[in-house]
Amino acid sequence: MKSARLVWAGWRFHVKSLTLSGFFLLTSAIQPVIFATIAFFMFKAGAREGTLLYVSLGAGLMGIWSATLFASGGAIQWQRWQGTLELSIASPAPFILVLLPMTLASATIGLYSLTGTLLWGRILFGVPFELAKPLVFLLAIPATVIGLGLLGLVMASTFILWRNANALSNLLEYPIWLITGLLVPISLLPGWVAPLSWVLAPTWGVRAIRDAALGGGDPLAAVGMCLALGAVYLGIGALTVRHFEQLARDRATLSLT
């Protein structure tokens, strides 16, 4: 119960805190809108207007991924800069319960992206927003946020040891957008990409959201996969956080910037 309360309080705090960050909000809201706009024009010029909602949802997910990635990359670094990392590590609560709300909150903030791209598409490009399975759609969104937030936890944990985490964040943005099929069907990519995409929550998250919105497929199964992968990420995150925290203590590298 105490753990749940800590995660809940931390999540609320970080959602509020990130909502006050102009950098974070602008990046979350504007970047996916830019990519959605380009994709809209590309698909319009390519005479495939029927796929605009598909693009809109994919671009929104791109924003959720970017938000998760940057916040996960920054979660440790920002604490280093603010001098709170040692306090968080030394506090009685397990460090994973401090880190988890940060990554979940950053994925939650990514919902601004999804909302922004859907509104942008509706207002400027007349993209219809008619949901085939509204209830499943409402279920798919939090499941995706949780899946991505937990993937962010795995990444953030590795950044305890690595001081150039933001560079890795820059590196991972485009590849994940590409191989999880956010804008491009995975079937168009080389065959060896598909197995990689299966172990990434965004693949299942976007599938769940799209299937719920456009109909077809099995959105509930995709929701299940997203949550199951989230549980696996949580297990991996728990191990890596503990291990890397111990290494950082042993090497006295915790606060090095």
Partner: protein, 261 residues
């Protein structure tokens, strides 16, 4: 002679000091690998949409990526000085401002050109695009001119850095707008009229078009006009940026607003 020293030695020294953090661990993933994935993303979206050839996206995105090192670095030029508490010292120094700021822009320009050329070369290799050896020289010139015009835009970003704190956001927005308007991914003719008008007045549009024509077999003479316009746009943006910096420097002295952002 003093101006030359300020331009060359001052420029290189300040670049090394401001970008001390740009180690290979950051440089390689952010500036050499990330553009390759940007190229791949748009190549595959293009294939999915059935719009243009792979070559179209490789050239467009490789050149457009020059905006990352140029616009971000020029914005950081002011922000970094302020962060390190050296901005005030620079602005009270008697050094002439033109060589001072242009000297800081020169390494940025060269880095931007390198990043774009590298992305173009690797993008072509990965996707099996063959460019004849005779195009290398003209393409190198176009890449350099594109980096020049992006640096001009970056100078404006740097000037705005005297008023806004989030220069990173500003550079992100500029980068995104260039991605939409420069024709890197959407042919200019497929954009609405008002967007086409903007496209013709921003950096990269003419450079990207020139590079595409060179790759298609045009000579340097054929695309001379496009390259000239690109250079002119860079010059105009650079002049505006420099004027803004001087104006804000003057304002900061009169109203004590140097550190307000």
């Amino acid at each position: 002679m003093t101006s030359l020293r300020v331009f060359f030695i001052g420029g290189v020294t300040s670049y090394r000091a401001l970008f001390y953090w740009l180690t290979p661990w950051i440089y390689v993933p952010s500036l050499l690998i990330a553009p390759i994935f940007q190229i791949l993303l748009f190549v595959y979206i293009g294939r999915s949409a059935g719009l243009q050839s792979d070559e179209f996206y490789v050239i467009g995105n490789a050149l457009q990526y020059a905006a990352i090192p140029c616009v971000f670095a020029m914005g950081f030029m002011i922000g970094g000085e302020r962060y390190q508490k050296t901005l005030g010292s620079i602005l009270v120094s008697p050094a002439r401002r033109l060589p001072l700021f242009l000297g800081r822009a020169a390494p940025v320009l060269l880095n931007g050109a390198f990043v774009a050329a590298f992305s173009l070369a690797i993008g072509c290799l990965l996707l099996g695009i063959h460019l004849p050896a005779s195009t290398f020289g003209p393409l190198a010139l176009v890449v350099l001119v594109c980096a020049f015009s992006c640096t001009g835009l970056g100078l404006i970003s740097g000037a705005l850095g005297l008023r806004v704190r989030e220069t990173g956001v500003l550079a992100n927005i500029m980068f995104g707008l260039l991605l939409i308007f420069s024709g890197a991914n959407v042919p200019i003719d497929d954009l609405p009229g008002w967007m086409q008008t903007i496209s013709h007045g921003i950096p990269l549009t003419h450079g990207i078009e020139a590079a595409r024509q060179i790759a298609a077999g045009s000579t340097l003479g054929d695309v001379g006009r496009l390259i000239g316009i690109e250079a002119l746009i860079g010059l105009v943006y650079g002049a505006i940026g420099y004027t803004m910096i001087r104006l804000m420097e003057w304002q900061s002295r009169v109203y004590a607003t140097l550190e307000t952002a």
